[in-house]
Amino acid sequence: SEDQEEIQEAVRTCSRLFGALLERGELFVGQLPSEEMVMTGSRGAARKYKVWMRHRYHSCGNRLGELLGHPSFQVKELALSALMKFVQLEGAHPLEKSKWEGNYLFPRELFKLVVGGLLSPEEDQSLLLSQFREYLDYDDTRYHTMQAAVEAVARVTGQHPEVPPAFWNNTFTLLSAVSLPRQEPTVSSFYVKRTELWDTWKVAHLKEHRKAFQTMWLSFLKHKLPLSLYKKVLLITHDAILPQLAQPTLMIDFLTRACDLGGALSLLALNGLFILIHKHNLEYPDFYRKLYGLLDPSVFHVKYRARFFHLADLFLSSSHLPAYLVAAFAKRLARLALTAPPEALLMVLPFICNLLRRHPACRVLVHRPHGPELDADPYDPGEKDPAQSRALESSLWELQALQRHYHPEVSKAASVINQALSVPEVSIAPLLELTAYEIFERDLKKKGSEPVPLEFIPAQGLLGRPGELCAQHFTLS
């Protein structure tokens, strides 16, 4: 029927009816025979009733699964809660016979239906998924969700040659909602009430959960995702996904793929790679080369500038990096600084100085007492490989040029290299988020001790005296 109210009432009724039946055990247990066979057969009426009821229950479940795609959210919500109620009751009163003592029984088919409904390829289910999130606190539902998700992804990608982005979004929402406990929980919390727990059950072990988690993510990430999703995944990679994988190094495929995409994505991928290298002994020789490649003039103008430099600081924090590499980075950054706005300069100049402080071998960049005078800068800005860039033979003339920057603070920051660098590093954390507006406000609030100096050449008109640039190139009329 079309009326929402009616559907809701019907769902409620079904839920109550089958709930009561399940509790009373009035549904057929075991391998379900086909309906006609039982009907035509000569078994008892009770059995016939049970089988018939089981069939009705089955079709009701299917119908509810369809309702998960209903346009009205109330209906969806109601259907979801009804289905989950069925899952709970069916888990408690299994519809199949346990084959041995302590056999773990879970209404997998029903649950698959739920997950399949949630991961709809047609529409955005994020609201419903946030409702579903509360069930993910339970160990068993979580475990089975992960398994069901793998199957759902495989099914959908198999069916559609071009997977709609809504499906990926739904999947990602569901997947990112799954979070494993950090430690082995002492008491497992199950959604389906269990009278006794068996150690042999896979659901009870964190290790198994991790495995499932890993298969889930890998099966998801092996597909070609839309770009926006890459970003979302990468954003949670380092703190939500990587630590909970059984074998984090398996993520390398995904990360290298993301790394080649360029821009912010590569940076985020580099962050993931860095964790793998740092924590999990991954060998990835091109890492710094890729990072070096990311440095281009736009890096000072993009939105993720703060994150970029935070990470770059992190990547370059090791004091065991070769000097040529650090020199290449310092020189590259200095080159880029020639096109940077003041707010970025105020951050990147201390950054470069920190690099020099960390690596005394690189101090030749600012202090080369008896070096030969050169005709041109030996540094090759076009070179992709930091090792080949000949940065160590160069000097940071860019900083010297920036000493003549129009903003006094930048000029001061660049003048630091005139003296021998002091030992303690300057923390760039407070400078990362600096915006031009903040600088502006700060400059406005700063009070000079003396009275405001004034222009002594009297004004003649708006464009100034005839010799000046504005008057040369602009007219009022």
């Binding site: 003339w397 860019e398 129009y406 031009a436 004034l454 100034g464 504005c470 190139h473």
Partner: protein
């Protein structure tokens, strides 16, 4: 007599024997007078001061002192009248008797003079000799002019008076011997004096005549000068203005280097010889004086000074190396004759104005007519205006009037509310600055913008700013903050901003005009620079109008750093972007662009002109600011011409940058992308000849810049000195005292000790005083008693003799 005085006296008396111990004690070595204070222990290093004393001598001295002071006071205790010697310098031993005499005479004369000569104009001071009036002795006919003043008298008194008063006291020492000889003969001396006086009179008259001549001459010169001055409004001698200009220039240079800032921070307000050197404080005071310190005189000076400054501007142009010529200066005045009228806003000499105008106007028919019309309009306006209290008030005053009227209104508001006229005027004019600024913004946002009025109002803004630097800078800051805030909000909501309207650009330009933009740090200019940088980095160029605005911002930016020659990365980026959007995408692929520009997209070929015909018909012209505010559907040819003009301006600015940044150590790294683009750009020769020439010359200039690649070196830092363990020195103030405490504590203890000793001494003195007084009183009483006794005895004696006589008489009677 006070205690303090006593104490002082005692100190003298106690000090004296100690000092005199060496001398007098030995002189009358009466062994009975010497008292030796025996020391129990000999202590090394201690100076003993009181081992020998002369109690008798000191007691006698103390007694003498008391009789001279205390006793005297005691005796005069009930008397209220005092004898006071008021002869000048009578008790001053440092003056020689001659000096005393001179001074006394001078005083005498003064008193004399004050009393009489106010009304008695004809009379000179009466000269006397030996107490007789000289007037009696001689008769001179010449009349002494009354206005011979103090200066002359001083000269007289130095030579003559002393001579005349030779008999008064100290005899003339300068006078020669012969005169001393002549003193005996009264007649010859009289002649001499006569001669002297005659000579002095003569001299006086001559001087008077000279002075009058000089005065006349200067007056004449002044008049001449005034006439010439108006004629040669911008041809005043350079030398006169030179030092006036030099100083602010030196100041500016100092601020530009930004050295003082650090120094000031390091040693705040340490007045020392340094201050004298830079003379900065002086200048600051100058400025204040200039504008509003006092009444009319000051104001007038101000006006004149401005005039002269203005007059010397062309020269300053040349000095600064700008390429302006004489003809430019002519232009600057020519648009209308009002420009100098306004520069005189401050001057109170209203009546001079028309004259000046008349002098200037001949030969410029239409402009002078216009000026007259303005004047006529001005006559209809009321002469006084109350200072507006709110912006709306000012707006209502100005709106709907012609440009001349508006200017007159503003000028009159300023004049009527000059701070020298009333108390609250300063605040009013300070507000006026803010309102005017707002008004300028309004004019700029109007459609079409009224730029000519703004052009003139700027001068008023400048004048007001000179008067009230603080409030003006606050107002400008407020305006800038508003603009930035708006932009920031837009960035936050939309992620990008659009170039703001013409008003913000004009505010920034006004900032440039009002404040020295070359300073290393300046409370207004530095934020304005940040604002400019934001305009160039955050606002994408979406239309031709944006290009014009952006180029104007670039111009402004370059003007800001014209003197300080500072490096602006944003500007280079922007120019690169401009060149980029002027090349077809195919040609320019591969060059690196930064933020506000995109390598691809619908705006990436904004300045490309494909129409050959338009290219051919284009003529180089300056851009109009009106285009920045609203470019209303120009024809495609016009648009193409504007495009080419924009490109020309961009290239010109680039060319301007090349020599400016040529000295930067990484010049080629900075200009690299631009250079690559220019070579590309040249390749597709579709641009007019002039542009290609411009490109070519820029390129050659770029290539001609030598690159200096000297490896960097740090300055040598001072070696850190080794830590030295110097012994701790403690000053020993008094032996036998506790040391260990801090210096202040020791000083305190010492003072307490001293106070105690002094107190005891004072008490002892007072006690002795009392004893002395008691002794005196006792002796008085004794004396009185003795006297009484004597008198009683005398009485008794006389009575007894009377009685005896009487009895003897009686006995005689009985016997008879």
């Amino acid at each position: 007599m006070g205690k303090a005085k006593k104490v002082g006296a005692r100190r003298k008396t106690s000090g004296a024997p100690a000092g005199a111990r060496g001398g007098p004690a030995k002189a009358n070595s009466n062994p009975f007078e010497v008292k030796v204070n025996r020391q129990k222990f000999q202590i090394l290093g201690r100076k003993t001061r009181h081992d020998v004393g002369l109690p008798g001598v000191s007691r006698a001295r103390a007694l003498r002192k008391r009789t001279q002071t205390l006793l005297k006071e005691y005796k005069e205790r009930d008397k209220s009248n005092v004898f006071r010697d008021k002869r000048f310098g009578e008790y001053n031993s440092s003056m020689s008797p001659e000096e005393k005499m001179m001074k006394r005479f001078a005083l005498e004369q003064q008193r004399h003079h004050e009393k009489k000569s106010i009304y008695n104009l004809n009379e000179d001071e009466e000269l006397t000799h030996y107490g007789q009036s000289l007037a009696d002795i001689e008769k001179h006919n010449d009349i002494v002019d009354s206005d011979s003043d103090a200066e002359d008298r001083g000269a007289l008194s130095a030579e003559l008076t002393a001579a005349h008063f030779g008999g008064g006291g100290g005899l003339l020492h300068e006078k020669t011997q012969q005169e001393d000889e002549e003193q005996g003969k009264a007649k010859s001396r009289k002649e001499l004096i006569e001669e002297l006086i005659a000579k002095s009179k003569q001299e006086k008259r001559e001087r008077q005549a000279q002075r009058e001549d000089a005065l006349e001459l200067t007056e004449k010169l002044d008049q001449d000068w005034k006439e010439i001055q108006t004629l040669l409004s911008h041809k005043t001698p350079k030398s006169e203005n030179r030092d006036k200009k030099e100083k602010p220039k030196a100041e500016r240079l100092r601020r530009m280097l930004g050295k003082d800032e650090d120094e000031n921070v390091k040693k705040p307000k340490h007045i020392s010889a340094d201050d004298l050197n830079d003379g900065f404080v002086l200048d600051k005071d100058d400025r204040r004086l200039l504008s509003y310190k006092d009444g009319k005189m000051n104001v007038e000076e101000d006006g004149q000074e401005e005039q002269s400054k203005e007059a010397s501007d062309p020269e300053s142009n040349e000095e600064e190396g700008d390429s302006s010529g004489r003809e430019d200066t002519e232009e600057s005045d020519s648009p209308d004759s009002h420009s100098d009228l306004e520069s005189n806003v401050e001057s109170e000499e209203e009546n001079e104005k028309p004259a000046k105008e008349q002098r200037q106007t001949p030969g410029r028919g239409p402009t002078s007519g216009k000026g007259r019309a303005g004047k006529a309009a001005g006559d209809e306006l009321p002469y006084t205006f109350a200072a507006p209290e709110s912006y709306e008030e000012l707006r209502s005053l100005l709106l709907g009037r012609s440009m001349e009227e508006q200017l007159l209104v503003v000028e009159r508001i300023q004049k009527c509310n000059h701070p020298s006229l009333a108390e609250g005027n300063k605040a009013k004019l300070e507000k006026l600055f803010g309102f005017l600024l707002e008004y300028v913004g309004d004019l700029a946002t109007d459609d079409p913008p009224d730029l000519r009025v703004i052009d003139k109002l700027v001068v008023h803004l400048y004048n007001l700013c000179q008067m009230f630097p603080e409030s003006a800078s606050d107002a400008v800051k407020f305006v800038l903050r508003d603009a930035m805030h708006e932009m920031e909000e837009m960035i936050e909501t939309k992620g990008r901003a659009t170039l703001p309207g013409l008003d913000v650009l004009i505010y920034l330009k006004i900032t440039r005009l009002l404040f020295p933009t070359s300073d290393f740090w300046h409370p207004v200019v530095t934020p304005a620079l940040v604002c400019l940088s934001q305009l160039l980095t955050k606002c994408p160029v979406l239309s031709l109008q944006d290009v014009v605005k952006g180029l104007f911002v670039c111009c402004l930016f370059l003007e800001y750093v014209a003197l300080s020659q500072r490096f602006i990365p944003e500007l280079i980026n922007f120019l690169l972007g401009i060149l980029y959007i002027a090349t077809p995408n195919k040609a320019s692929q591969g060059s690196t662009l930064v933020h506000p520009f995109r390598a691809l997209g619908k705006n990436s070929e904004l300045l490309v002109v494909s129409d050959r015909e338009d290219v051919a018909t284009w003529q180089q012209s300056s851009l109009s600011l009106r285009w920045a505010s609203g470019l209303r559907a120009p024809t495609s040819t016009e648009a193409n011409h504007i495009r080419l003009s924009c490109l020309a301006v961009g290239l010109a600015l680039l060319k301007h940058c090349v020599p400016m940044y040529g000295s930067l150590p990484s010049f080629h790294a900075i200009m690299g992308p631009l250079r690559a683009l220019l070579t590309d750009h040249l390749a597709d020769c579709s641009h007019p000849q002039e542009l290609q020439e411009l490109c070519q010359s820029t390129l050659t200039e770029m290539e001609s810049q030598k690159q200096l690649c000297r490896p960097l070196t740090c300055e040598k830092s001072k070696p850190v000195p080794l830590k030295l363990f110097t012994p701790r020195l403690v000053k020993v103030l008094e032996f036998g005292r506790k040391q260990g405490s801090s210096k202040e504590e020791q000083e305190r203890k010492r003072l307490i000790h001293k106070h105690k000793r002094e107190f005891k001494g004072a008490v002892r003195e007072i006690r002795k005083d009392n004893q002395f007084l008691a002794r005196m009183q006792l002796s008085e009483i004794m004396e009185r008693d003795a006297e009484r006794k004597r008198k009683v005895k005398q009485l008794f004696n006389s009575l007894a003799t009377q009685e005896g006589e009487w009895k003897a008489l009686k006995r005689k009677k009985f016997k008879k």
